[in-house]
Symmetry: C2
Subunit: 183 residues, 2 copies
């Protein structure tokens, strides 16, 4: 069993918040006692869409893209990179394979649609230069890849039903700089 206080402590929030957040999704645990860890884990995974494997592609294998290819934390969760694409795969394969110390497969971007279907890719990670991000997003949309994680520092537009999450390092730094300036 685990109590909301114990969960709160692990997450650096307060216990009331933990209970409130869980209550938003239904009834969990036993009042005054806590939660069965195993049940709660399964419930949370189901709520979050993590009771399945998410198959991802990285597009643009520069420094950041290749860092993501070897990012260990993805595999601990249910995120699996099943394809890497670049406009210049031959050059990239050599550089990245040497760097990661293992052979890496990088596919030409022109094959995105076909590979996305064969490998059932659901999430595309854009790590191209910003100038290429929108055209890559268009290819992802065309391939029916509904989820996009965008690291290219530019706004991209997608049709309804597609979801983009941006990871803009400088925006996060802007937020930090603001807090540092005003504290």
């Amino acid at each position: 069993m685990v109590s909301s206080a114990q969960l709160a402590n692990r997450c650096s929030v307060n216990a009331a918040q933990v209970r409130k957040d869980l209550a938003y999704f239904g009834e969990f645990g036993i009042r005054g006692v806590g939660y069965y860890v195993k049940d709660l884990l399964q419930d949370i995974k189901r709520i979050l869409g993590l009771n399945k494997e998410w198959r991802m592609a990285v597009i643009g294998i520069g420094n950041l893209g290749s860092a993501l290819l070897s990012y260990k934390d993805f595999l601990k969760q249910n995120y699996k990179i099943v394809a890497a694409f670049d406009i210049n795969p031959l050059e990239v394969i050599e550089r990245v394979s040497e760097k990661l110390g293992q052979p890496v497969e990088v596919i030409h971007i022109s094959r995105l649609k076909e590979v996305a279907r064969d490998r059932r890719i659901e999430i595309g990670i854009i790590t191209t230069p910003p100038s290429e991000a929108q055209s890559v997003a268009n290819l992802l949309v065309e391939a029916g890849i509904r989820g996009i994680l965008n690291f290219a520092p530019t706004q991209i537009k997608v049709p309804e039903g597609y979801i983009v999450k941006d990871v803009f390092f400088t925006s996060i730094l802007d937020n930090l700089a603001y807090l540092l300036s005003n504290s």
Copy 2:
């Protein structure tokens, strides 16, 4: 001049939101006309703490750390990486210099405090394995570095007056997975 509608369009929000957000910080622009671009830029930079250069250190020069060393978008803004630290600098220098195609200075972590003072470092970027993140954060605190950008997928604790911003790739993917599962 630029209107709130034009700004809104660029940011994919609505014009009322732009006006409301700016009003939060004071009086800007001319009602019914718009904003002087040059003045507005300066005002926003001042509000955000971007009217100065922020001097940063990266700690942990693995794949992600070295990708950040060559991340071009930082320099377009006022963010400057002025030092890189690792526990194993000699090995790292060779690998990263080759990868980035230019000599890179990497300093042993034991010199953090001294270098932080000499180079006036204000922001520390943690890209170590999660097991090392808290001890690196402690060193940053000891060196008086008040801002921390934490890429290591673990919660770190700092005393009051210090600010941590986390960039957890899997948390962002969790959010994307949730949205994909529920749409």
